[in-house]
């Protein structure tokens, strides 16, 4: 893509964001059946698993084995820092101006004093990392979650998170570097870093999941919700789950109570 194309794309995106920016509301409740394409998604999951077991996983484990932890941490910091502009943009789009200022300082400190982001010097200055993206912004604006999707290679997504992936792409500093000799190896390293950092999680899924696909789907959706609510999602849903089977041997109070609308979807 040439520079003019890129400029037009970003300009159009900016216009859409400005038009939508006014309607900030509470994130809407998740749909009753979050996964209408389960059969298709399961096939993609099986493909991703096969690919990971054959190629991506072994490469990631070799990376973990041969690259020392400190070097891996520097690589992780470098790629995390590159998401800085996207975090700041979405801080602002969600109206979190103070956090936007902090994340701007964080990006500036780490890019300069942190030697291009290899060191997370901002964290030691009390500037903690925030995770924001345009998918979360859409949720805060009141857009529904949409069907759950398992994408080839990329893994779990909600429909709402897909425009977020596009915004992440445009706001990624490497996107503006035109030399493939620089961007291609860096993109490959970034991908291996991402997979390597998930090694423990993937191992736990393989060891403890009864249905790995459902495990990944549920954990992803819960994690997204956690991020959308900035780490404080309403606890009510979790507490209600316990009430479903709390003391089932005891008779219901007041005899025939109407069933609550929280009945699980078949």
């Amino acid at each position: 893509m040439n520079a003019r194309c890129r400029g037009a794309a970003v300009g159009a995106l900016g216009l859409v964001m400005t038009l939508l920016g006014g309607c900030a509301t509470q994130p809407p409740a998740p749909p009753r059946n979050p996964d209408p394409f389960e059969r298709f998604n399961r096939d993609v999951y099986a493909f991703n698993e096969a690919l990971d077991r054959a190629v991506i996983g072994p490469v990631a484990r070799a990376y973990i084995r041969y690259v020392p932890p400190r070097a891996r941490r520097a690589v992780g910091n470098f790629f995390t820092n590159l998401t800085g502009p996207n975090v700041v943009l979405n801080d602002l789009l969600q109206g979190k101006f103070r956090q936007g200022f902090e994340d701007t300082m964080r990006f500036v400190f780490n890019t300069t004093f942190g030697i291009g982001g290899l060191m997370d010097v901002a964290a030691s200055k009390g500037l903690e990392r925030h995770e924001e993206d345009f998918g979360q912004t859409l949720a805060v604006w009141g857009f529904p979650q949409g069907p759950f999707l398992m994408l080839p290679v990329l893994g779990p997504f909600t429909t709402r998170a897909i425009p977020g992936a596009a915004v992440s792409y445009f706001t990624y500093p490497l996107f503006w570097v035109d030399d493939l000799r620089i961007t291609a190896p860096l993109a490959a390293l970034g991908f291996i870093d991402l997979r390597a950092s998930s090694e423990t999680a993937i191992r736990i899924v393989r060891e403890t999941a009864l249905d790995p696909y459902v495990f990944v789907r549920n954990a992803y959706l819960q994690r997204r919700n956690f991020l959308i609510w900035d780490g404080a999602p309403p606890l009510d849903d979790l507490l209600d789950e316990l009430d479903v089977s709390d003391e089932p041997s005891e008779p219901e109070e007041g005899g025939s109570q109407p069933q609550e609308s929280t009945a699980p979807v078949p």
Binding site: P69, R73, R203, I204, R206, E207, T208, A209, L210, D211, V214, F215, R217, N218, A219, Q222, R223, N225, F226, L227, G231, P233, L235, D236, L238, L239, E241, L242, D243, V244, S245, D246, P248, P264
Partner: protein, 214 residues
């Protein structure tokens, strides 16, 4: 008692009222609140101390043997098991199936802890806050400080049953273990029936050599 109210001066009546109100309304509540928070905190501390000890124990069987009483004491495993299945599926089971399910769930829970908390490299737990939540519950928020400097948020939800505070759910970085279990259990029962679920729980209860993947 047959006291004549007029025999007591007005002011002492008022004082008596205030004291009585305080005794009836405020004190037990404050006591229950603080007492339950302290009790819930102690349960989580007990579990986390045992987990750190387990991580320093190399043999799986030994870890399992030591963790088993702690897990059973600190968790309301029967309630978790029933909630993971959901009221409708639970009510479909006869007594024999319920007992088998509860027994396998208990073994699977201990085996999972014994398998996953197997290596120690300087981790430590920190209790961040303890606060009451809706309907006789307490939430204990903790941080697991990993060796590489990273942290995992571990939040324990506890409930009181028969005078004992026990863990009914654990949230790691916002992901509810109970919700994860429920979604999976119901999918397995839907696809392979209750027998399929029992077989999976059985497989999860085995020592790691039998289930580990390269």
């Amino acid at each position: 008692m047959s006291q004549d109210p007029s025999a007591v001066p007005r002011r002492s009546w008022f004082t008596l009222w205030v004291v009585a109100l305080a005794v009836v309304l405020i004190l037990p509540r404050a006591q229950a609140g603080e007492g339950s928070e302290a009790a819930a905190r102690a349960v989580v501390e007990h579990l986390q101390t045992a987990l750190l000890e387990a991580m320093r124990t190399p043999a799986y069987q030994e870890r399992y043997r030591r963790l088993a009483p702690v897990i059973e004491q600190t968790h309301d495993l029967d309630l978790i098991a029933r909630a993971a299945l959901g009221r409708d599926l639970w009510s479909d089971l006869d007594t024999r199936d319920r007992d088998r399910y509860l027994d396998l769930f208990r073994k699977m829970s201990i085996a999972t802890y014994a398998r996953e908390f197997s290596e120690f490299s300087g981790e430590r737990f920190e209790i961040v806050s303890v606060r009451p939540v809706r309907r006789k519950g307490v939430l204990v928020r903790t941080l697991l400080h990993k060796a590489d400097g990273g942290t995992v948020e571990l939040d324990y939800h506890l409930r009181e049953r028969n005078g004992q505070w026990r863990i009914v759910n654990v949230l790691s970085d916002g992901v509810s273990d109970l919700a994860l279990k429920r979604d999976q259990y119901r999918a397995v029962v839907r696809d392979r029936g209750f027998g399929g679920l029992l077989a999976e729980l059985e497989a999860q209860s085995r020592p790691p050599s039998a289930t580990s993947t390269p």
